[in-house]
């Protein structure tokens, strides 16, 4: 059991989309660094104590209250420096004049230097961390990231949980793993959002669809140090078990299609489907994920070649209305 600490800041930056550069708000784990989308990956092992701090950014500040929520985590605690509470207390939604203004305790840049959230990673899985303040605006602007919680022993050869997503006996053993964060971007909204001004969400109409913050063909570029650091291209050999960890961070539903291949769904919302008493895993050619939902799929390609993985809502496979683009990536299967 270890303590995993991550200090994040929120900053303004630029997202590069095919044919367009737009402003965004993102998390960074580098002090006054450039923000990224999705936010920095946080990795932990079951039993770890996570401390996620959100620090006031004096240089590239957004100019409105900020917070982080942890959907799927229970008993999240919070403290603030320098004005307290100093001792961790349970997170609570925040109110003004009797009406909720934030889903959780937030960083008030007028007085707080840092707000720290803390919880124990009790279950393996993939989880979102995301804005809990003006979430309709801040999540769309880019304030979301992923926490991976692995079972104890996942990295220990000969451990029965070695290279499993959910531990032994859950049918979640894998040879390689890819996290695929689905979302959509409304570039007009990005260009028009103002701090502390309510954005009319009736106008929300996305025009870019992304995996790990990138639109195809950028999705199949390597990882890099840009504001969209995570590629989503997959390479594997025939017979290897590829663990696809799909998270819908967007507001729309998405149907993630496995390029004609069939995968086995082994976990939904990070609850493994195979338990000691029941094997409820099932096979699919594509999965529809509601907003905020996650699915873990084991894909074991049997034939070499290239396959595209994409949103089966084909209108999301465009950039600037032109196919190919959008929410699509590729898996290359070698002999």
């Amino acid at each position: 059991m270890a303590t995993v600490a991550k200090i994040l800041q929120v900053a303004t930056g630029s997202l590069s989309l095919p044919g367009k550069i737009i402003p965004f708000w993102g998390f960074t784990d580098v002090f006054v660094g450039n923000p990224q989308n999705p936010g920095p990956l946080i990795q932990a092992t079951v039993g770890d104590q996570l401390i996620v701090g959100l620090m006031h950014n004096y240089i590239k500040f957004i100019g409105e209250p900020l917070s982080i929520i942890f959907p799927g985590q229970e008993n999240v605690m919070v403290r603030k420096i320098p004005w307290g509470p100093f001792i961790y207390e349970p997170v609570q939604p925040q109110y003004s004049l009797g009406k909720m203004i934030s889903l959780t305790n937030y960083l008030d840049e007028k007085q707080d230097i840092i707000i720290e959230y803390s919880f124990t990673a009790t279950k393996p899985g993939i989880y979102l961390y995301e804005s809990g303040t003006n979430p309709e605006k801040q999540i769309q602007m880019g304030l979301y990231g992923i926490i991976v919680v692995r079972p104890v022993g996942y990295n220990i050869l000969d451990h029965h949980n070695h290279k499993t997503a959910y531990g032994a006996g859950t049918n979640s053993g894998y040879d390689l793993e890819k996290i695929l964060v689905l979302s959509e971007i409304d570039s007009i909204m990005h260009n028009n959002v103002r701090p502390n001004v309510y954005y009319d969400m009736l106008k929300f109409k996305p025009d870019y669809w992304v995996i790990n913050g990138r639109s195809f063909p950028d999705t199949i570029s390597e990882d890099n140090t840009s504001s969209q650091p995570y590629g989503s291209q997959i390479s594997c050999r025939v017979g290897q078990r590829v663990l696809l960890r799909i998270i819908n961070a967007g507001f729309q539903n998405h149907t993630f299609y496995l390029g004609g291949l069939v995968g086995r769904v082994v976990a939904e919302d990070s609850f493994p489907l195979k338990t000691q008493s029941l094997d409820a895993t099932y096979e699919k050619t594509g999965v529809t994920l509601g907003s905020g939902q996650r699915m873990d799929i084991i894909l074991t390609p049997t034939t070499p070649g290239e396959y595209y993985l994409y949103d089966r809502e084909y209108h999301h496979l465009v950039n600037n209305d032109q196919f190919p683009g959008g929410m699509m990536t590729r898996i290359t299967v070698n002999n």
């Binding site: 496995l258 496979l317 465009v318 190919p324």
Partner: protein, 384 residues
């Protein structure tokens, strides 16, 4: 080895409100009409089939067969196709005027989609999709325990079966394709919703009616009390649709052509509304047992004077005028009853209710009926 020929070509769809809409579809022959959806393909598990695609359209066309292991073209597994380094097709395609031949051996029984893998943002909404049914290796329609969707012993026996394929149409988008103008997906706003390529009330017509040459498949579901009616849903459009059959729940036995069963564990479940997700399939058993009322065991309420009631406000009704199956009663003068034998009609429709309109006018769209007859020929509800 079965060989299926499909010709990609264009044509015009007819809607009940009098619209004629340009579309792309597959035809069974060079001279036959393009149709929506494409011809049903019935294959058999472990039996190799070949699908020849002849492209009569002005841009490349391909067919992908999601869920089929190892589709080959010229002996090689299908591969994405590029033009000037840009992705053009998910699988090998036929150039305009050309052809491509796909071969595969279905290893699983079930219900599958086939659809264009080229410019799918345009070609699939334009109509290049169809249904593929794979019979289990031990299928025998003449022996009850072998007339199944997924093989003997899988709890998927059925008496009748129906394929119901959902789709959407934005007529303006179709017109831009007809006129060769740019296809802007951001302008997409569907005005019609289809079951088997037709909008209600055309969905209620029989298969192969003369005046719908491009839309040969009806979607009325017919059966008898207590029968196991297999409904095979395919979401061929780009949107999800919650289909709700009145009358009773369905038991979902398989998704995407994969049985919901692991060893002896049977994961099938019952729902009254199934969300038909884009590109996905749902095999379900609908079994209506009724409530047991007959003139000898009468209903516990009194039938009011029908002159005081609303019956056939639209000028027609599907009702028999009687509460009892197989009986007919009085229908007010001036109302046409389409009820023949005292059968029961249960609506089956999308519960995103704007989708049961034709360009905003109810009734229409993604709606049909389940009709329960007192007795019905064995020839009804057979997929050929």
């Amino acid at each position: 080895m079965p060989v299926i020929d499909l010709w990609a070509k264009d044509g015009y769809l007819s809607t009940p409100d009098g619209n004629s809409i340009y579309f792309w579809g597959f035809s069974k022959s060079e001279t036959g009409p393009a149709q929506l959806p494409g011809p049903y393909i019935i294959a058999k598990q472990e039996e190799t089939i070949t699908v020849n695609l002849y492209n009569k359209l002005s841009e490349p066309v391909s067919i992908s067969f999601p869920g089929q292991p190892v589709v080959t073209v010229g002996g090689q597994p299908v591969q994405p196709q590029y033009s000037d380094g840009q992705l053009l097709s998910f699988v090998n395609h036929a150039e305009p005027g050309g052809m491509v031949s796909y071969t595969f051996t279905p290893s699983y029984p079930g219900t599958f989609i086939y659809e264009s893998g080229t410019n799918p943002h345009k070609q699939v909404p334009m109509g290049l999709y169809g249904g593929l049914v794979v019979r289990p290796a031990d299928y025998n329609p003449n022996v009850k325990e072998y007339k199944t969707a997924y093989g003997a012993g899988t709890n998927t026996e059925f008496d009748r079966e129906y394929l119901l394929i959902t789709g959407e149409i934005d007529p303006d988008m179709h017109q831009t394709v007809e006129e060769g103008k740019p296809y802007h997906v951001s302008k997409y706003l569907p005005r019609y919703w289809t079951l088997n390529g037709r909008c209600a009330p055309d969905t209620m017509l029989m298969d192969h009616v003369d005046y719908l040459p491009h839309q040969p498949y009806g979607s009325i579901v017919m059966g008898q009390p207590g029968e196991k009616i297999l409904m095979r849903y395919i979401g061929a459009g780009i949107d999800n649709h919650p289909l709700h059959p009145h009358g009773t729940h369905t038991r979902v036995v398989a998704v995407d052509g994969r049985l919901l069963k692991n060893g002896n564990v049977d994961l099938s479940y019952k729902r009254f509304t199934v969300l038909v997700g884009a590109g996905q399939t749902y095999d379900q058993i609908y079994q209506w047992d009724g409530l047991g009322y007959t003139p000898q065991n009468p209903i516990p309420t009194t039938l009011p004077n029908l002159r005081n009631m609303g019956i056939g406000d639209a000028g027609w009704t599907m009702w028999s005028g009687s509460p009892y199956l197989g009986m007919k009663g009085d229908i007010p003068v001036g109302v046409v009853s389409y009820n023949e034998f005292g059968e029961y009609y249960f609506m089956l429709h999308s519960h995103e209710e704007l989708q049961i309109t034709n360009w905003g006018e109810f009734p229409g769209g993604m709606m049909t009926w389940v009709a329960i007859y007192p007795s019905l020929s064995h020839d009804v509800g057979v997929l050929k």
